[in-house]
Amino acid sequence: MRRVAIIGCGQSKHGRRTDVNQAELVAEAVWAAIEDANIGVEDIEAYAVGNMQGFGGICQPDLVFADYIAAGGKPMQRVATGGTVGGSTAHLGYYEVASGMYDVVLAVSWEKHSDSAEPGATTGLLHVAFANLSYMMKIGMDMRSFAIMGLAGAAAGISAYQAAFYMARSGCRIEHFDMVAAKARRNAAKNRYAHLKWPGCTAEDIAKTEMLIWPLRFGHVCPASDGASCVIYASEDAVRRLGIKEVAWVKGVAAYADEEADQGESYQGTAVVDYSDQTGAILSARKAYRRAGIKDPRKEIDVAEIYAPFPHQELMFSERLGFFDDGTAWKALEEGVTEIDGDFPICPSGGVNATNAIGSSGMQRVVEAALQIMGKAEDHQVPKDVKNAVAHAWGGQVQFNTVMVLGDRPKGW
């Protein structure tokens, strides 16, 4: 099997970017990655792109700005899988090189929420809520009630439900969510690309904020950021040929999909009732570890970038991905294990809770994991030897999961 490495990463500045149009935003990340990898534009053989286009209002945006990212005349493939699109694009880029068709592939994903004209940048979310919950009308809900539910619910609604389930099965409390959110903002303060920075933020600061939809507080919610993230992959031969010294090797990928979580009703007839189950995440992790040759994730993985727009998801997925036993993640949090200087740092970048450009955040987890391995994470570099890292994303109706295991050496070295 071909060995594939990440040779360069780039991010645009995340935040509210009304100073640029969508094309310029993506170009920022792309050219930053090209510079980071120290290669020429002519070295890039193919592209992998993705975003949630319902949020940006352009159908096939990559075709509009192909020239901005030097893709003219080159092969380009696009994926779109909801919140995981960053992770899916990262996987696509990996497979493009692993297939043997290309030696150097650039993968970029992005989101520009500020192009929405609705308050709270919710144009895209409204589309999600309505389109995907339309089956409610089949069971007798009228349009007006549906509108109220959709506007209030959307991603927050499903996540609140998931948080409640998780609290029941794990025994954690809202205070733990406060702690995770505070850690995210403290870490983000050390990351120059992050959106919500709050140096010295404490759980008490978060606890003071209003309850939005139980058990989620205002202080738990992630921002709607604009941003783009980009990685450049290269085959082992290309790494040698281009003379790249610092790389992060992709050791294993997996992306198992579960059926959508629809309050106990779905089109298949069976149903996912407990959203904190996340069978897809468990399977994806297991498969990715097997492919990567990882037998004991808790011992062998050094840092994890988990996709957690809401704080309970960091705890939940850290268990599903095998880092802590069921129901013990909150204990590890209390002991400071997941702090940036802890034994098992999670989201040293601040994670999605501090910066959420939906289309970009899945890829950003890959970028951050790669930076940790290459030792290039600047102020938020974890102060330990990083041999293996995990980048994870979830999406869809809490049913998609993408997992990538990265290492400082290729598998079987």
């Binding site: 149009n21 940006g56 020239d67 919710t122």
Partner: protein
Amino acid sequence: MGVDRYSGLPFVARFRWSVGKIMEKFYRSFAEKKIIAAKCEKCGYTVVPPRQICPQCYSRMGEENFVELSGRGVVESLTEVAFRLDGKGGYIWLEKPELLAAVKLEGANSTIFVRVEGDARIGSEVEPVWAEKTEGKPSDLISFRVVK
């Protein structure tokens, strides 16, 4: 068997796109009835509307690369359009067909797609038709017309 159908959502979710600083300048110069392009220093490719990356050699460009075009151009291709889309997927059939042209502006390499008035052919020379009062908005540039 049949399927249930629902239509007519009780809201419209709209977009308002940021155009970026360079496009902002491009539209502002409409107020002075000017059409601005960006000329690449490295390869000479002149792109209109202007942008920060050359489509041909990918060099960076900025306001220092701005050039003002004469506004005149040549019709490269032409079509008589018989319909418009109504935004919902329906066709609105026009009483009189409108002319749409692919125009190569003098001094630029890009092609722009514009309405054309007059007896245009492929190869006709055209010039811009501006609104009476130009305010620096897209609607200032109404169409192009054949140069007499």
